[in-house]
Symmetry: C2
Subunit: 69 residues, 2 copies
DNA sequence: ACTTTACGTAAAGTATACTTTACATTATAT
DNA sequence: ATATAATGTAAAGTATACTTTACGTAAAGT
């Protein structure tokens, strides 16, 4: 599972800190997400999609043919 | 956050056990999800949406005006 | 009567999402 | 030169998703 968080964050001209605040998570969480270190909860994924005004599937890319997702 | 897992499972005529197998999770996980006891991981949410051939947002309903999600 | 199937609960264990703190690096500004 | 802002790493701690086992119940089949 890949994601476009970093790209979208830059499009919206936000720092990691600012995005973390909007999402009510720590900056570490943003870093880990951007680096693809884990698989967020659905609620966090949803909040992210709302910040970027799009659908979950527009932020997170689940490539068929599975590396687990 | 509500979800339509139980409804969709019945539409697809699956038992909890069968759905659990398809998703590669335990039956307990299905029960807990149907009962709304927790907030799944994004990957699990995605797999569920694939089983039911729809989008994540069609399975999980995030009512605006937040009880967290 | 009894067995089987489907659903449910409870409780303890494991894996992992997410936090917190502390420190390093690079770029920009003064 | 040094201060500040933004990004990154590492490691230990907490919360919670998910598993496993064991047991209870109600309905349907034989």
């Amino acid at each position: 599972m890949r994601n476009r968080i970093k790209d979208l964050r830059l499009v919206y001209d936000l720092t990691q800190d600012e995005l973390a605040e909007k999402l009510e998570v720590s900056r570490q969480t943003i870093i880990s997400l951007e680096k693809g270190r884990y698989n967020p909860s659905l609620i966090l994924a949803y909040k992210i999609s709302r910040v970027f005004m799009c659908r979950i599937e527009d932020v997170f890319i689940f490539e068929e043919g599975n590396e687990n997702g």
